[in-house]
Amino acid sequence: MKLKGRISLYLIAAGVAAIFAACLLGSTPMTAPRVYAALIGDGGAGDEIVIWSIRLPRALAAYLVGAALGVSGAAMQGLLRNPLAEPGILGVSSSASLTATFVVYYGIATASPWAMPISAIIGALIATALIAFTAIHTRSVITLILVGVGVSSFAGAAMSLLMNLAPNPFTLSDMINWTLGTVANRSFEEISLSAPFIVSGSAILLTTRRGLSALSLGEEAASGVGLDLRRQRILTVFGAGLATGGAVALAGAIGFVGIIAPHIVRPFVNFDSGRTLVPSALLGGALLVLADIAVRLAPTENELKLGVVAALIGAPIFIWIAMQRRVIHE
């Protein structure tokens, strides 16, 4: 308990520091006093625009997205009892970005600002439900991952089809942004459209964390100690779908945060699935803000996309975790 309390406090501090750093750094670096003055509304008009319209919303978007992916990853890993389960790997993010793109492509997105986030969430829920359904019918973790890879490939193929049929270069470039994943040019308005889903999804996941701890015993013994397995599955799928869908609506598909954050956190909470949720969210948020700072500072002609950097760092770590894993279930 003490350990967990401390790690969460450290991670909150790290998140705040990362967001503050994101406000300091950029094409025109600003000093800390200037950022502070702008934050409390006591700075120059130019400074306040840079902070309040550009840097702060961008950093907060990165934090929210990272937190949503971190908590979803931790919850899915707890439910499926597998450290490799992650919204990106299992095709949840790509399904969400597929449905979001579909809505953008057919112009439905102009009907209501909510159309896009809701469609992303529907895509995420379809994929999470499919994965959970597979999990009920197969005991093999490998089958599960393969089904996820299949879902991911299908969503990727359908995405390519949409790009293939894109009516004009602008639509195409929009779509590419979705698949690459970025938090550039996000406004508070866009954040406010996704945040409710991310927050409510995370809240649902947090209410079921006791059950995730019990699942460490396996499903049979977890039922034995009093877990309502059906309810646990539904709530975890629903919560992870909401949070991941909300994250994709805000930033497109960003992978691997959901696998790295829980992996780092786990030893600090004695590998108790329930207790990984909060620190995974906090660490996921801080990591993505830092990655986004790196993206902004990288001296490249075209700005790097956050999702690209996350995958470049995350994929090798994924491979490493997979190779470290002892076979216990097969």
């Binding site: 308990m1 967990k4 009892r81 597998n82 964390r209 006791r210 701890s213 019990a214 699942l215 460490s216 015993l217 396996g218 049979e220 013994a221 039922s223 034995g224 100690v225 009093g226 877990l227 309502d228 397995l229 786990r266 909470v269 004695n270 590998f271 108790d272 699935s273 329930g274 207790r275 216990i328 279930h329």
Partner: protein, 253 residues
């Protein structure tokens, strides 16, 4: 009133009958051994009686209430269930695993009320795990892990216990240790039903035997009443010599 009573329980999966018209009871102070060959339906019977199977006919009552009407938490507070032991999904700490036994009381690892913490400590003490309490379960031997799961079941402090082959894959010394733990649990006034493969072990500890084959309960009663050469032949298909409560198995029929 029986603490746990199954009446005419029948469970089918597809066109296969796993349990057929089985009736049994478990009372406090009883040490019941459920015996039968592989595939006899022992696990299916206890799963049905616990309400873990949904499509069954017949009725299971726990302290007079239909098991269907109980929530998983309510059920778990009255009857602790120790399924066949599987490896844990994560390298958890022993004390955290035992703490999961308090799930039905609303507790979770790291979130134990003082009452929960007491129960966990008592169970750890009873199962001789004090020196292992902070160890990761991945570093334990099979016998130690078996004791951890027993402690988890005891921590629930439920009046009844059902254990499915708690001694499987353990050496004789550890088999005895687990059986002694369950015996002391029964002696403290609780009731236990234990699925066993080892007839000798069952005769040594159980006050009542339930003999199962092909989904049916063939006999149920005290060892003295139900143990016979014919019984061993019909249930297990083995040749045996029986002398009082001593059994010598001579081979397959």
């Amino acid at each position: 009133m029986s603490e746990l009573r199954g009446s005419s329980l029948t469970l089918t999966a597809g066109d296969k009958t796993l349990v057929e018209d089985a009736s049994f009871s478990l009372e406090r102070g009883e040490f019941v051994a459920l015996l039968g060959p592989n595939g006899a339906g022992k696990t299916s019977l206890i799963r049905t009686a616990l309400g873990l199977e949904k499509k069954y006919s017949g009725e299971a009552r726990l302290f007079g209430e239909d098991i269907k009407g109980l929530s998983p938490m309510e059920r778990a507070r009255r009857i602790a269930y120790l399924p066949q032991i599987r490896p844990l999904a994560w390298p958890n700490i022993v004390r955290d695993v035992v703490a999961l036994g308090r799930y039905s009381h609303g507790a979770a690892p790291g979130r134990l009320s003082s009452l929960d913490a007491l129960a966990v400590d008592r169970a750890i003490e009873a199962c001789d795990l004090v020196h292992l309490a902070q160890r990761r379960t991945t570093t334990l031997s099979g016998g130690e892990l078996g004791r951890v799961h027993c402690a988890r079941a005891f921590a629930a402090e439920a009046p009844l216990l059902i254990a499915d082959e708690p001694t499987a894959a353990l050496d004789p010394r550890h088999q005895f240790r687990i059986m002694e733990l369950i015996k002391s649990y029964v002696e403290s006034g609780d009731g236990a039903l234990v699925v066993l493969h080892d007839i000798q072990l069952a005769l040594r500890y159980a006050s009542k035997l339930i003999w199962m084959k092909d989904g049916r309960i063939l006999a149920s009663g005290s060892p003295a009443e139900t143990l016979s050469v014919e019984r061993l032949q019909s249930v297990y298909g083995v040749r045996a010599r029986v002398e009082g409560l001593k059994v010598e198995l001579d081979g397959a029929l």
